[in-house]
């Protein structure tokens, strides 16, 4: 009999009941709540006269709607200029107060993007099941937690029952073997994976990321990779526990302490796939072949290396692909065979649950240091993922580097990743963005998103168009110093 995958282990540890009809009840250890997908769930509870099953399993923070300018943030909720956003943020506060759920409110230094806050607090632990009404909940799988996004009806279901109705997924392993080149980051790895397997390649699967290049990543990098599993169609992205995982968690506020810590660590060490575990599908990429990535279209699979060019839709064999590519180029205002380095930019966004952690800001700051944002760039903004990331970055002087280079340094939130607040693109504007989705209108009506790593976004801000971050002299010098 073959061994178990990490996903199999996590599933079995949380299986409350397997039903004859193929569905199962899975126990949920942690639910993260935010203002956009929770109000209707609380309303549903109220209408049915139900109470949350276990309060301490829940942790809430507003993130999607919050403004990121100090002017609006200084006054807390009352400073939110958009009245509709204000109602939503206030409703989260009211619901958390009414039911007694812990919330990091808008100006709490621990507030931030749910997927940055959970891990940062140690509220995401290996061996947990983690859900949130947000598809990027896959992020938490970097800790060997079974984590995925759910809809609002399911948020209500978890609040009321501490369980989720689920069906077991299939197992996929994506191996990235070898050593990543200089200037090639976790973001480039995951974009290359999506380019390889497509936006529906992982549908129905839990993807475990493995191989020496994945093992070499920091927790921040691993979160970036798992975060975008959903962009490959997989609700779940996972990485097994190792020393990097355990070192990250030590002394986090929600992490176990003293006597429980050792027991927990011993338990966590087993959260890896067995060496003889069978996967339904295995995909392997060579790290050395991955170069810095840039998306050119309106789906994350429409991506290529910085040395590449925009494809010619007429060269596509599949009729549906031909039509999709034609439509994407029309929307993006790009020409077939145009060089990626010839794409000019209007705005630059460094932030989002994909790339707003301290390591992301350090990488962007390395490139920005001593340089100036190009005159042709209308706005270049850096939005830290949480108040604590912001504080850490300021302690390291990163804010000064960004501000001196001409970037705006903002308050934490989801910001221009989905543009629910005032941070958005205008029609036709091209943006180098460290976020996760380049869908039509995602960053603003008619906006044109190019997904890149933080270093590539910073380099694009300075050049005014895409450049290969590997060719920048400053970047080489920084790496040489470290080596």
């Amino acid at each position: 009999m073959s061994g178990q995958t990490l996903y199999d282990k996590l599933w079995n540890q949380h299986l409350v009941k397997q039903r004859d009809d193929g569905t199962a009840l899975i126990y949920i250890d942690r639910q993260l709540l935010h203002e956009v997908t929770s109000p209707q769930a609380f309303e549903g509870l109220r209408l049915a006269g139900r109470k949350p099953w276990r309060l301490d399993a829940n942790l809430a923070t507003p993130d999607h709607n919050v403004p990121t300018t100090l002017k609006e943030r200084a006054a807390g909720n009352s400073g939110i200029e958009d009245p509709v956003s204000l109602i939503q943020v206030q409703t989260l506060d009211d619901n958390c107060l009414e039911y007694g759920i812990e919330e990091f409110k808008i100006n709490d230094p621990r507030q931030g993007i749910v997927h940055v806050v959970g891990p940062e607090q140690g509220a995401t632990l290996p061996g947990m099941t983690v859900v949130c009404g947000d598809s990027h909940t896959a992020t938490h799988g970097a800790f060997a937690a079974l984590a995925h996004g759910i809809g609002t009806s399911e948020v209500e279901h978890v609040l009321a029952t501490q369980c989720l109705l689920a069906q077991k997924m299939k197992n996929m392993q994506v191996r990235v073997e070898g050593e990543l080149g200089l200037g090639v980051t976790a973001k480039d790895v995951v974009l290359a994976i999506i380019g390889e397997i497509g936006t529906a390649g992982g549908t129905g699967y839990a993807i475990e990321f493995a191989g020496s290049a994945i093992a070499s990543l920091s927790m921040e990098g691993r979160m970036t990779v798992c975060n975008m599993a959903i962009e490959a169609g997989a609700r779940v992205g996972l990485i097994g526990v190792d020393d990097t995982t355990i070192e990250y968690l030590a002394e986090r506020p929600f992490a176990p302490t003293a006597e429980q810590w050792d027991a927990a660590v011993a338990d966590w060490r087993a959260l890896v796939s067995d060496s003889d575990a069978a996967f339904d599908k295995v995909v392997t990429l060579k790290a050395e072949e991955i170069e810095p990535q840039v998306s050119w279209g309106t789906s994350p699979e429409m991506v290529t290396g910085i040395s590449g060019q925009v494809p010619d839709p007429l060269a596509a064999v599949d009729e549906t692909v031909k039509r999709s590519h034609t439509r994407a180029l029309e929307y993006m205002g790009l020409q077939a065979n145009q060089k990626i380095t010839d794409i000019k930019l209007d705005k630059v966004f460094i932030g989002s649950c994909t790339n707003s952690r301290i390591e992301d800001l350090r990488e962007a700051a390395k490139v920005a240091k001593g340089n100036k944002v190009a005159d042709s760039i209308k706005l270049a903004m850096v939005v830290p993922g949480s108040g604590l990331v912001k504080r850490q970055a300021e302690a390291e002087g990163l804010d000064r580097i960004f501000i001196e280079a001409g970037f705006e340094w903002r308050e934490p939130g989801c910001s221009m990743c989905l543009a629910m607040n005032a941070d958005k693109l205008g029609a036709g504007e091209h943006c180098a963005s460290t976020s996760n989705r380049n869908f039509e209108g995602r960053q603003g009506y008619g906006g044109r998103t190019h997904l890149v790593s933080p270093a590539m976004a910073a380099a694009a801000a300075i050049a005014g168009h895409f450049v290969d971050v590997r060719t920048l002299p400053a970047n080489d010098a920084t790496h040489a110093q470290e080596a």
């Binding site: 409350v16 009941k17 039903r19 009809d21 193929g22 569905t23 126990y27 956009v36 997908t37 209707q40 049915a48 276990r54 301490d56 999607h64 509709v84 956003s85 109602i87 812990e102 632990l125 061996g127 009404g133 947000d134 598809s135 995925h148 809809g151 609002t152 009806s153 399911e154 279901h157 009321a160 029952t161 501490q162 369980c163 109705l165 936006t199 529906a200 549908t203 129905g204 959903i230 169609g233 997989a234 609700r235 506020p253 929600f254 176990p256 302490t257 429980q260 027991a263 927990a264 692909v321 039509r323 989905l418 543009a419 629910m420 989705r437 869908f439 039509e440 209108g441 995602r442 008619g446």
Partner: protein, 215 residues
């Protein structure tokens, strides 16, 4: 939840792959704290020529006449015919809420994204996965024949075309049961309350750190 048994409904074709939930309902409409009223903003960026705002009177907005749902022949459609990977991206349940509010009860496509699939069934919308060739055939038929309707029979898991072709489809037993009966699955889960409590007690004993609050 709405029951779904059988429907004989007008079909509208949306010939586009990878339709994401941002396209189904753009983010500015997610600021609502209600479950209803999203229908007027379904496919907002495709349906109208201007940028939509929450709370706006959509009857005065300029329509994109080229968009399929604005064409007179598709008014009142209850079955949406779509392409592969329909509903990808964001987990927003506002997407099925908008489809439902607009009047769609069935979506037929070669494949659906996982989270959207769950969300749709929880709102009484039946998603039917058919083979690419079958979907191609339906696109050809609906585009060439005005007033094209399909007979969708959940009990027997069959889609019947006006020409008499019958396509069978798969749907798991639990989702089918809930849809046929219009059941609220929280109520069903709470029938297992004792099993959940037993599991929770054992789980807490085995891994107490999972139940810890911040210091």
């Amino acid at each position: 939840m709405n029951k779904f048994e059988r429907l004989e409904g007008l079909v509208a074709p949306l010939d586009r792959a990878n339709v994401d939930t941002d396209l189904i309902i753009p983010k500015q409409f997610l600021k609502s704290i209600k479950r209803t009223g999203f229908g007027v903003n379904l496919f907002d960026e495709l349906r109208y020529l201007d940028e939509g705002q929450p709370g706006q009177d959509c009857s005065k907005r300029p329509l994109n006449d080229g968009f399929v749902l604005n064409q007179p022949r598709y008014q009142g459609a209850q079955v949406l015919l779509a392409r592969r990977n329909f509903g990808c991206g964001s987990s927003r349940e506002h997407a099925p809420w908008a489809l439902d509010d607009f009047g769609f009860r069935v979506v037929i496509a070669p494949s659906f994204a996982d989270i959207f699939y769950n969300n749709a069934f929880k709102n009484g919308i039946l998603l039917i996965t058919l083979a690419e060739e079958q979907v191609d055939q339906l696109f050809q038929e609906v585009e060439s024949s005005e007033g094209y309707r399909l007979d969708v029979d959940l009990e027997n898991q069959r889609v019947t075309t006006p020409g008499g072709d019958v396509f069978t489809f798969e749907v798991d037993a639990f989702r089918k049961h809930c849809l046929l009966e219009g059941l609220d699955d929280i109520g069903i889960t709470l029938q297992d309350e004792d099993a959940i409590r037993d599991f929770e007690a054992k789980h807490r004993q085995a891994r107490p750190w999972l139940f810890r609050q911040s210091a």
